[in-house]
Symmetry: C2
Subunit: 420 residues, 2 copies
Amino acid sequence: MNTLAGSVLIGQSGGPTSVINASALGCIETAMASANVTKVYGAAHGIKGILDDKIYDLTMEDPDELSLMRFTPSSVLGTCRYKLADFLSDDTDYKQILHIFTKYNIRYFFYNGGNDSMDTCSKISSYLALHNYECRVMGIPKTIDNDLACTDHCPGYGSAAKYIATTLMEVGRDAKVYDTGSITVVEIMGRNAGWLTAASALARLQDKDSGPDLIYLPEVPFDMADFLTDVSRVYNRQGDVLVAVSEGIKDKNNTFISSYFTDSTKEKDAFGHSKMGGLASNLAAFANSKLKAKVRGIELSLLQRCAAHLASATDAEEAYLAGKAAFEAAESGITDKMITLMREPGSVYICKTGLADLADVANAEKKIPRKWINEAGNGILQPFIEYSLPLIQGEPDRPMKNGLPRFACLKRIQASVPAE
Amino acid sequence: MNTLAGSVLIGQSGGPTSVINASALGCIETAMASANVTKVYGAAHGIKGILDDKIYDLTMEDPDELSLMRFTPSSVLGTCRYKLADFLSDDTDYKQILHIFTKYNIRYFFYNGGNDSMDTCSKISSYLALHNYECRVMGIPKTIDNDLACTDHCPGYGSAAKYIATTLMEVGRDAKVYDTGSITVVEIMGRNAGWLTAASALARLQDKDSGPDLIYLPEVPFDMADFLTDVSRVYNRQGDVLVAVSEGIKDKNNTFISSYFTDSTKEKDAFGHSKMGGLASNLAAFANSKLKAKVRGIELSLLQRCAAHLASATDAEEAYLAGKAAFEAAESGITDKMITLMREPGSVYICKTGLADLADVANAEKKIPRKWINEAGNGILQPFIEYSLPLIQGEPDRPMKNGLPRFACLKRIQASVPAE
C-alpha cells in the first residue's frame, strides 16, 4: 500500500440531485475514519470555493448532523458551474488551486459531479503532477441526467426516475378524472439524453389507469405534424391524452422545439422581458389546434432533481458507496479515476463499484440506445424497463420531524490553516 | 333508530385530492357492513353519472382492491363540475335523478366535494322530499383549498399542505445551491383563499436553510411596487429569494395579478392561441427588472393535489372517518347535513366529526384570518403554524410494488337493475 498522509478536500459541482450529499457523506465518513487523514475539508461552491479560499472544516461538524446528509437533497456544500481554462494558455486559477492545496496540505481531492467535473478533476490532477505536488484526485459521478459514459448508471438518476414515474402515475390519474376531454403535457429535464423522460414509462407498468400515452425523447427527431397525429389518435380513442416530453426534443435540423415558441415570435411581456413560454404549455396548446379539449402543461422543473422524499433507497445506497469507494481507492494509491457503477450480469440486480479514466468520462455523453425506443419514436420498449426498474427500488428510512423531513444543517465553519 | 332499508349511492365531485378516495372508502366499507344496505353503488363522474345512468356496482369489486382506495389519489369514480339548475325553473335533471334513484332503490346518497357539491346535495334532497321519495342525503367534505365553512379544516388539505411544505423545503435547498444570485417564484393553488400557499411557511419551521422568504396570499391586496421592494430587500441581504405566491393574488381593485400578464397584452402564440403566461415565471421576471439574477418560475400545478405519496396520515385517517361518519349518521336517521371536522380545545390535537347544515356550507367560503398574516402582507404568523402543523403529521403505510405506489384499479362494472 502506497501510504500518503494529509488532508482531504471534497467539492460538489453542477446541478444537484437528491443523493449527491449521500456520496459526499460516504467519502467524508470513510476519510474521517482513516489514520492517514489529518483533516476533512469541504469546498464551498466547488472549485469556486477553492479559488476564493472558502473552505469548510468538516471535522468541526457534529457527526450526527453530518450523517443527515444521506437524506438531504441539493448540494450542502454549495455548487457551481465553473469551467477551468486550459492551464497551458492560462494558469491563473491553477496557481491559486496549488496555493490552497499546499496551504491546507490537501493530499486527497474528490470532486462530485458530471462530465464537466471530471474534466476539471483531470486538469487539476495534471497540473499538480506537473508541479510535483503529490495529490490523489478522484471523481465521484453525479447526475440526474444519467448521461455519463463508462458507468452502467449514475448516482442521482434512480431517485429522479422514481420521482418522475410516481408523479406521472399520480398526474395521470388526476388528468383523467373529468369526462371532458383533456390534453396534458409534462415537460421533463434532459437536453440531449432522454433517460429521465423515459422513466415516465415506468408509470404505466403497474397501473393501466395511468401513465403517459406518448413519450418523446431528444434521441429521436421530433416532428410537429407527427405529434399532432399521435395526440389526435390517442384522444379520439380514449378522450384524454397524457404526454411526457424531454425539454431537449429537437427537429430533424437539430433545432430545439422549445425555440419554436420563443425565438421565432420574439414577444416581450409587459415589462420588456422575453416571454418564458413553457414547452409543455405550448405543445399542449398546439396539440389542441384541431381538438377542443382542456389543455394543461406541467413542468417538473427543479422538483425532479431535489425530491429527496421520493429518493430510491437503491440509489441513495449506491451514491454513498460511490463516495466511500472513491476514498478507499485513493487511499490505496489510485488517482485520476472516476468511480463507476457496474451491474453484474444475470437476472438478479447486483451492482458493484468500478473505475474509469477521468478523460474517458470527460468527453463523452451516453444516450438511450435507439433500439430501446419504439419505431415511431413515441414510446419506450421493454429493455429500458428492465434497465431502469432495479434503480428505483426501495424507500430510504429518512428521519422526520413535525411531519416534515429533517435535513442536515451544517455549521459551515471556515477552516483555519493547520499548525505545522 | 329510524330504520331505512335500501341501496347506497356515492358520487365524487370537483377537483380531486390525495385522500378523496379514503372518504369514499370509509363510506363504502361502513355501508357494506350494514344490514340495512342492499347494494353499494358509485356514480361515474358524480352527478353526471346519475344523469347518464352510469352507475357502478361496487359490491362486484374485490374488497382488497377496493381497500387500496385509501392510498389512491384523484377520484377513482371520476368527477365533474356540473351545476344543477334550480328545480323550480328547470326540473329536467331532477326528474332523471328521481328516476335513477327509484330504479336502483337508492335510499342513501353521499356526495363528496366542496361547497358547490353541498349545494347540489341540498337541492337534490329538497326535490326528493317534495316528491315524497325517502332518501337520506349527506355531504362529505373534500377540498385541498380548505375553504369550507362550519368545519375546522377539510379532508384533503393536510396532505396538500404537507406536499407544499416538503416541496418548498426541497426547492428552497435547490434554489440556493449556486453562489450566483437567484429569484425563484413558486405558484400555488388557491383562487380566493390562501390556505395552501400559507402552508409553504411550514417549510421554514425546522430548516433555516430553506423555505420561502416571502409569501403572498389572496387575502391581502397585492401591489407590484411593494413586491419589487420586498424582493430587492431580501435579495440584497442574502443573494437569493424564494417566493411563494397564490394563483389568486389580486390588486386593490380586485383584479387578478395573473391577468396583468395575459389579458392586457393579448398576445397569441405561433398557432393563434393565447399565450399561457405562468404567473410564477412572469412575477420572477418582473422581480428581476432591477436585479440581474437568474430567475425561475415553478407552478406546482396538479402535483399538489394528487401527490398521495406525500399524504398526511392524519388527513388520510380523518378523510376515512368523515366517510364512515357520513354513513353512520345517515343510517341513524340524519339527512341534509355535511360531516365536519371539529378540533377539541387544548394543546393536544384531537379531532372528532360533527355535523353542519348543507345550506350553511353551500353559500360560504372560509379565508385565512387577517391577523394570521403579518402586517406587510408578505408573511405568515404563528397562529397559522399552530393551526396547520397537526394536520400534516404522519406518513401512511402505503402499499408499494416495484418501487412504485400500488393504486386501486377498479373493474367499474355497470350496475344492473336489482330484482324486485
